[in-house]
Symmetry: C2
Subunit: 169 residues, 2 copies
């Protein structure tokens, strides 16, 4: 396998992975491209490499910057803006985890908290009992997950990996 085949594979698969993670395909591909690029790339570079429009590249870069995994960079004596990906895999993972925690876990915890301990004479005993039992169990699980994620996000990789080694033995 030569370099351009490998590059193509990487970008494509990253796109597929992104899709199943709710990140759109093009965004994920741009991220994949930046990740393996030795130099920061300009909007033009990305347009050309992935054959997508200026508007799309611009929007996607903005979104990747919102995720905190792509950064603007200026080169000396160049007006143009360049973009580079976070390359530390640990930092990438924690950034993504942090964002997902914020966007997905917190709203669920908020909802589950709101519906704790329903009492309603109009509903059957079974219905009330079931929703209370489930929402309590789910909330407990969500809170545990939240704590683990917070710990994960703030930890450094060496701590985490040494813990993992113990955990998975």
């Amino acid at each position: 396998m030569n370099y351009s085949e490998a590059k193509y594979e990487m970008i494509q698969q990253w796109g597929v992975l992104g899709s199943s993670w709710g990140i759109n395909k093009t965004e994920a591909q741009i991220h994949g491209l930046l990740m393996i690029s030795p130099e920061p790339l300009s909007v033009e570079d990305i347009m050309e490499e992935l054959k997508i429009s200026r508007g799309n590249v611009s929007m996607s870069l903005r979104s990747l910057m919102d995720w905190g995994i792509v950064h603007k960079r200026f080169k000396l004596n160049e007006r143009k803006e360049f973009f580079e990906s976070e390359k530390d895999v640990w930092k990438l993972a924690t950034k993504v985890a942090q964002e997902r925690q914020k966007r997905e876990l917190l709203p669920v915890i908020e909802m589950l908290t709101r519906i704790q301990n329903i009492k309603d004479p109009k509903a059957t005993k079974e219905e009330v009992s079931e929703i209370n039992t489930m929402s309590k169990a789910l909330l407990k699980f969500a809170n545990q997950s939240d704590k683990v994620l917070s710990k994960f996000s703030n930890a450094d990789s060496s701590w985490f990996f040494s813990t993992l080694v113990k955990l998975i033995k």
Copy 2:
């Protein structure tokens, strides 16, 4: 907040969560509905409750059964089929983790393995070096994640929570 408001909230929020996890909204809502239902429900029950078509309910139930989190159930002296959700939150979480590991992590590991150690005289030294460094780092991380997930999937909840307590202290 009364019972039907809570039920509505739960189903809606579960739908939103599903979407951002790549599970379609309706599927997630059906799962949410089954999760808080004290009795297994029939296709008709679900159609009526969520105002969706027979075809859609049927397809969605099939997919949820593929995930392993919804099961068919027969009631005595009833020809009709009923469906119920797995209600053990721990089992739910491990099933989902298992499926995602299989659908998402394994293909990425496969790809990263294939592109290890690219050599190509036509590409620049920097390009080759960068893709090799990144793919190696990503593969290491993916393999670690795979191990953790396997451990997680096969563990029982009591082991996991006692480990967590230590981990997050």
